[in-house]
Subunit: 118 residues, 2 copies
DNA sequence: TATAGTAGTTACCCTAAGGTAAGTGGTTAC
DNA sequence: GTAACCACTTACCTTAGGGTAACTACTATA
């Protein structure tokens, strides 16, 4: 069986979409990225900024974001030890995507609320 | 404790983001929406277009999308019974969002592959 | 010496997401 | 009459995501 161009294009699109979703999916990754758009932060700062996140989830999601090259972990060999997290260029490139997610979410809520009480 | 404007703005943003993620999250919702951007489709057509989706998942996700007013289900009282799914204006308004998800996914893949063999 | 802050880790648990396989009730074509 | 298409539904199972609580190892301060 041969694949035509349309099928191949479609598969590429779905793959790109899955890639994005894999990176942004979950409860905490976008909040972490957004927190870091306000500047580099340390583990404790992130924990205080992102209300309700546990150290386990924060640590786990930071590792995943680092593996995906969205953030960088910098260890300062000071006493006591300090760790700083920051966005990579790839992380910064999520700006437009995050804006669209935000915009559509706002639009969605307006539409739903609007149409609930006509 | 009072909340300042910055905190409130941040909470609104996170809520909007959670709203969007709730709608697009999961393995099948975006593929379904994308399939419907090519035109109205019937259950069986969707099942054939979206490779690997089971009737259970398709039915389940269609219901969720309908509840979120992203798609409409139209029953034609013909023999045999025909059902057609189509995007609502709200569903159509996801275009830019989907484009950004697609764009960033493509960019992400390029960056990752690029940096793997420098 | 006890307390708090640095940055996490580990063990355990529960729920939700998703997959598999089979069945349902109707119609139409062979 | 039986096979196949339409649009699903149901029961069952496995895995992944996420939560809680306690613990680690080190340092600084009262």
């Amino acid at each position: 069986m041969y694949m035509n161009q349309k099928d191949e294009l479609c598969l590429n699109k779905l793959r790109a979409i899955r890639d994005t979703l894999e990176v942004i999916q979950g409860k905490w990754r976008i909040p972490i990225v957004i927190a870091l758009t306000f500047g580099n932060k340390r583990f404790g700062e992130l924990q205080r900024d992102i209300v309700d996140i546990s150290p386990k989830m924060l640590s786990q999601e930071l590792k995943a974001l680092e593996m995906n090259r969205i953030i960088t972990r910098t260890l300062y060999d000071s006493m006591p030890v300090a760790v700083e997290y920051s966005l990579t260029p790839l992380g910064l490139s999520m700006r437009k995507l995050l804006d669209e997610i935000l915009n559509w979410g706002t639009h969605f809520r307006e539409e739903i609320l609007e149409n609930r009480q006509p």
